[in-house]
Symmetry: D2
Subunit: 364 residues, 4 copies
C-alpha cells in the first residue's frame, strides 16, 4: 500500500519538493460534504512558515480540487487536491557531489531507490508534502465537527519549556485553531519563541512534544487486534517527518506507577459511562471508551542545522563534511501541529466510516 492509507477512506499522497505538483487523493468520502474553501486556506496558512523562526521559502500554497467536488460539495468519488510547486528552481543537480544530511533521508532514499530518487529539496521526503495532508484534512475536519468530534494539538514542551495541559477542551481547541504558534499559555509561548530564535542564531535546532486531544468520539470504535485505535493513529503519525515517538494517555510518563494508580475507574454520569481519570487516553483494549482520546508525539530536533557535521558523499561513498548554507527552520514543531491534526482527522474519519458505513457523514 505504501503511499496510501486507510480502509474505507483512503488517502494517497504524491509529489516531490521540486516537481510540478504535490497532491493527495481522498477516496471513500461520503457524498454531500460541504467543502469550505476558506477553511482549507486557513489550515494551509497554519502550516506555513511563521516569521523569523521558519524557513524563508514561502510557497503560495494555492491548490486545485481536481476531482470529486461539484457545486461546493463532495460527490463521493475520489477527491483529488493538487498543489503547484511555484517556487521550485530547476537546475541540473545530476552530477553534483551529494553529501548526505545527517538525520535526513538522503542516505536511506539513496539505498532504497538506488540513486534514481529526485533528491532536490528532499524530494518525496520533503516536509512540503505535508501541505497535501493538511489540505486533505481540511476537507474532513468540518465533517467531523458536524458529528461533534473536535481535534486539537498544542506544543506540550519544547526545548525544555512546558506548556500547561488542556483544561477546557472545547475552548482550548478553539483558541489553538486560530494561531500558528500553538501554545496554550501565552507566557510560555513567548519563552518558546525566544528560545527558538536563540537556537536559530546558534545555527542549531530544537524538537519537542506535541499533545493531541480528540473529543466527542463514540464508544466502540477500533479493533482488538492490529487495527486498534492506537495502532491506526500511531501508524498515521509516524508518516509525519521528525515524529519518532507516539504514546496514548500517560504511557511513558506514568510507567513507574502502580495499577491502582493507573486504572481509570468507571462511573455513571447520568446514563453515560465515564472514567474518573483518563490515564488510558480514552482507549481500552484498542477500542474507544467515549472519553477524550489523548496522545503525544515526540518530535525530534529538526535535522537541518548550520553547524558543520560529519557525513559521507553518496556517489563516491567517501567521508565528507557538511556545512549547510541558506536558511531553514530551527524548529518545525509548531508547523507539524496542523499536520498532526489533519492526519488524525483522516484516520478518525476512516475508523468511523468502517464502523458506521460510507454514508454516515452524509447523514450528519
Amino acid at each position: 500500500m505504501k503511499n496510501t492509507f486507510g480502509q474505507s477512506l483512503t488517502v494517497t499522497l504524491f509529489g516531490e519538493s521540486h516537481g510540478p505538483y504535490i497532491g493527495a487523493v481522498l477516496d471513500g468520502l461520503a457524498p454531500g460534504i460541504d467543502i469550505d474553501e476558506e477553511f482549507i486556506k486557513h489550515q494551509l496558512d497554519l502550516r506555513r512558515p511563521a516569521g523569523k523562526i521558519s524557513t524563508k521559502r514561502v510557497e503560495q500554497d494555492e491548490y486545485i480540487i481536481a476531482s470529486g467536488a461539484f457545486n461546493g460539495k463532495t460527490t463521493g468519488t475520489p477527491l483529488s487536491i493538487l498543489i503547484p510547486n511555484s517556487v521550485q528552481k530547476s537546475a541540473d543537480y545530476e552530477n553534483s557531489p551529494r553529501i548526505a544530511r545527517p538525520g535526513h533521508a538522503d542516505f536511506t532514499a539513496n539505498e532504497k531507490y538506488h540513486g534514481f530518487e529526485d533528491f532536490r529539496g528532499g524530494g518525496h521526503f520533503s516536509g512540503r508534502i505535508t501541505a497535501a495532508v493538511v489540505a486533505a484534512g481540511a476537507v474532513v475536519i468540518p465533517a467531523l465537527k458536524k458529528k461533534g468530534i473536535l481535534i486539537g494539538t498544542h506544543i506540550k514542551s519544547c526545548g525544555g519549556i512546558s506548556d500547561r495541559g488542556f483544561e477546557d477542551y472545547a475552548k482550548d481547541i478553539e483558541s489553538l485553531s486560530k494561531t500558528n504558534f500553538p501554545i496554550l499559555d501565552e507566557k510560555k509561548a513567548a519563552d518558546i519563541r525566544e528560545m527558538m530564535e536563540q537556537t536559530a542564531s546558534e545555527g542549531d535546532s530544537v524538537g519537542g512534544v506535541l499533545e493531541t486531544v480528540i473529543t466527542g468520539m463514540p464508544t466502540g470504535v477500533g479493533e482488538p487486534w492490529f487495527d486498534t485505535v492506537e495502532g491506526i493513529l500511531a501508524h498515521a503519525m509516524y508518516s509525519i517527518p521528525a515524529i519518532k515517538g507516539v504514546q496514548f494517555g500517560d504511557a511513558f510518563d506514568m510507567v513507574d506507577k502502580k495499577g491502582s494508580e493507573y486504572n481509570d475507574a468507571f462511573r455513571m454520569e447520568g446514563d453515560r459511562v465515564v472514567t474518573l481519570t483518563n490515564h488510558n487516553g480514552g482507549i481500552n483494549g484498542g477500542i474507544t471508551n467515549g472519553m477524550p482520546i489523548l496522545f503525544r508525539c515526540a518530535v525530534k530536533p529538526t535535522p537541518s542545522i548550520y553547524k558543520k557535521q560529519e557525513s559521507i558523499e553518496l556517489n563516491s561513498r567517501k567521508d565528507a563534511d557538511l556545512e549547510i548554507i541558506g536558511r531553514h527552520d530551527p524548529a518545525i514543531i509548531h508547523r507539524a501541529r496542523i499536520v498532526v491534526d489533519s492526519m488524525t482527522a483522516l484516520a478518525v474519519y476512516d475508523m468511523l466510516a468502517v464502523r458506521y458505513g460510507t454514508d454516515w457523514f452524509l447523514k450528519g
Copy 2:
C-alpha cells in the same frame, strides 16, 4: 482487515480465552523454511507464567500445525497453528452481573459488540491470544536468523528500577533468548523480581518499559509515507495488550536536545556506511539505514489488581464496586517480552518479503 496484519506475509488471529481453540494463520511464507518444533515450544515456554510472580492458570500450550507444513518445512500455503484451551471451565455466565474491570476492555467490548461478546476470561482480548502470536513468530524467527537478522528485547525499566542498556547486541540477544525473566543485569533482575513480589503481596501491579533491538537489517527497507518502518512496527506493537507507548531511537528521552546532539553523523566503515551515534534508532525518513533498529514500548501496569475499585455493572449500567478474587499476574512485562519479539519478527519478515519478493527466505 481487523484481525489480519501484513501485506506479503499476513497473520490472522482468532480465539477466545474460554473457547475450544485459539490460533493463527500465517499466509505468504516462503516454501522450504525449516519448522523447528523444539524452538516453537521453547518460545511458548518463555511466554508462560514464571513462578510466584505470575498467574496460577497454567496451560499446557500444546499446539497443532494444522496446515502449510509438510516434511518439516513450510509449503508456502497458509500455515495455521491451533492451540487448544485445555483448562477452560464452561459455566453459564450469561445472567451473572458483570462489573467492568477498570483498565480492561470489558466496557469497550460491551459497547462494540453490543453484549454478544464472549466475555469469559477476557474473551478475544485475553492475553491468552498472544500464545498464537508467539507460535507464529517462532516459525519466522529462525528464517530471519538465517538471513543474519536477530531480535531481542529486555525490560529496560520496571517499577522504577532500570536495567543496563544493550552492550554486545549478539551476546545480549543470545542470553535473553534463554531466560523467562529478560533483564541483562543479574542484580537488577533480582531487585525487580523482589519488587514484583512485594507488589503482588499488596494486591497491586506494575508496568515498565521494554527495549527491543533488531540487528542485521538491510538498508532501504520501509516506505516514506504511511508504511514507514516506525509506522508498521508501532501498528503491530499496539495490538499487544497493555502497550500504550512506542518510540524509536531516543525520541521522548532526548526531546529536549538540540539537532546538533540528535543528528547521527554518517561515516564509512570499510565500504559500509554507518552512523556514529544511533539516536534515530536505525531509521531515517521511515527507511532502514543499516544500523540496529531500536525501539521502546511502554507497558502500563497490569490492570488486574486486588484492591477494591470503583466501576459499573454492564447490564444494568449502574455504579458498582469491584473486588477481584483469584490470582493474577502482578506484572506481565516479562511475559510480554516474547510477544514483542514475535510480533516484531512477523512485521520484519513482511517488510522484507514486500521488498525482496515472496521467495527471498527460501534462498536463505
Copy 3:
C-alpha cells in the same frame, strides 16, 4: 492478501487435502447473528458427493466452530471453523515419481512452491478446501436472508443439455436449496444424470455452466472503478476450482446484439425504479440497480479422467504418461453449485458491510 478475501468481512482459508484440518476464519461479522448449526450441516451435505456420479471418498464433514461464537450467536470477533480430515492416509510420498495431472495444478504448484508443496490429494488446491467455504457461507446466508437477500444457483447447461431458466426466483431458489442435483427442470435433471453416468463409464468427465441469481439487493452497492460488483464477484468466483469464465447478465450470449436490444429501459413501478429487461444482470456502472443480479460461471470439465494422458514427471522433468486409478467425480458442477452460492454470500455480505457499516446485520 493471497488466501484472504474481503474488506469489511474477510474470509481466510487454510488447509490441505491430507493435513489434519482445513478451515476458514471469518473476520468482521456483526455480533448477534444466529448461528444455525443444522443449516451449516445441510449446506455441507449439499457439497458432498452425490451417489454414483461422485467420488467414493466420503468425509464426514464434521466441523468445529473454534472461536467467534457464544450462546449460539456470533460475537463479532473472528469466527473460525475447523473441519478435520478424517479419511486421510498418511504415507511417505516423498520419493515417488510424480506425474503431473493435466488440467490440474500439480505442475504450477511445483513451480510456485519449488517442490515443497504438500501434493497429497491435490494439497491446498484440493476441492476439499471448498468445504470450509461452504461452512463459512452457511454462517452468513441466513443473515442475508433476514435482510431479504436470497441466492440461488442451478446448472444452466451440462454436456450439451440445458436446464430451463429461472422463472419465479423465490420459488426456484427454495427448490434448489433442497437438492444436491440443482436443476430446475426434472426431466433435464434425469437426462443430465444419465449423461454423467455414461461419461463416467467412458472414464471421461464433463463441465457446464452454472447460473446464479441474487435477489433483494439494495441499489447503490458497488464502486465505479475496481471494486465493481462484477469485479468483486468474479474475483471470488475464480477461486473455485474449475471455474474459467464468469459473465454478468447476457454478456457473451448477446454479444452480437445492438444497443437498442441490450439496453435495459427504466420504468417506475410504484415508487420503485425497475428495468423492463435485465440484460445487464442488475448492475450498471459496477453498481447495483436493484434488479436481480444474474451471472454465469463456466465450469471446465473435471480434469481427473481415466483415459491415458500425455504428461511429464515432476522431479526428473521427463515425459511420462499418466493413467489414473481409483474413482473420481466425472462431474463436479453439481457440487460446485453450493460453493458458488457460499462464495457469493460472503462477497455480498462484505459489499453491504462496507456500505452500511459493520453492525448492519445486527440490526436485521
Copy 4:
C-alpha cells in the same frame, strides 16, 4: 480500496468528465524505469476516437507527469499523471431534468451518491477516465517488454463478424500495436468498419468480444485462492466500462467438451515444460504454467444510442422518454482494446512485483 487497485504496484484513479483534471497515481514502481514519452502519446492516440465511427469530442490528451519521475526515469516514489479536460463546457446543470440513460450508470450513481454526483458527461463513470489508465499502462508496458512479456488484444468478433485467431503471437502483437482498429484480418477489418458505420447511421450501436494474449509470463505466478491470475485480471477488467464478461482459455466456448478434450497435455520441449494445447489459457489452479495467457472480454453494445428509449427522470422519479442528441460512438470496442492492454499490464506488473519484489523491474 475502491478506486485503488493492486498490492505491490497500486493504481489510483480520479477525475470526472467535466472536471479540471483526470488522473492516475502509480505507487510501487521500481526506480530506474525509462519513461518513454513518445510511447505514452502513442498509446493515448490509440484510445482516441477513430474517424467516422467515433465521437466528435476530441480531447488533446495532453498529460503532465506531476511526480515520481526524474531525469526521464521513474524514481520509485508515486508517479502521478494528470490529464487536463480541455474541452469541458461548464454550465449550470443543477436544476435541469435528468433522464437516466438506459445501460449507463446515471441511475445507479444517483442511488449511490444521493444526487451529489457530478453527472456532467457521465462524471466519474465516463470512458474519459480510461485515458488515465492508458497513460499509466504506458509507463509499465515497456518495463514488461524488457522482461520479455508482451501483451496484445484484438477484436475477436463484432456485430457477428469474426476476426481470425492469433497465429504468430509476437508478430500479431506488433501489428496490433500500430493500429487504432485492432483486427488481424484486413478484410474483416473493412467489414467491421462498414458494419459499424451502417449501425451508426441507424442510430444504434454494437459490442463484441476482445481477445487478449500475454506472452512470456514466468511460471509460478498467482495464488491458489482468491488472488488467482484469473481473479486478479478479471477484477481489473470489470472496471472497464461496458465489459460484462471475462473468460480464460476456452471456458464458455468449450463448455460442452469432455475432460479428455479440454485437458492440456504436458510435454518437455528441451528443458521447458509446455502444454500441447492451451484450452486453460496458460493458467492451472490460478497459477501461470508458462504458456501464453489467453482471455476474452465480452463488450456490451455501447449504451449511447439515438433511438428513443423508455426511462425515468431522476429528480422527480417519473417515467420519461429519452432521445439523445449529439454524436456518440456507435462502438467503443476498438477503443476499449488499449484500455484492456493497459489494465492488463498494470495487473501483470503487480503480480510479478509481489512475487519477485519491488526492485525486480529495475534489474531488467
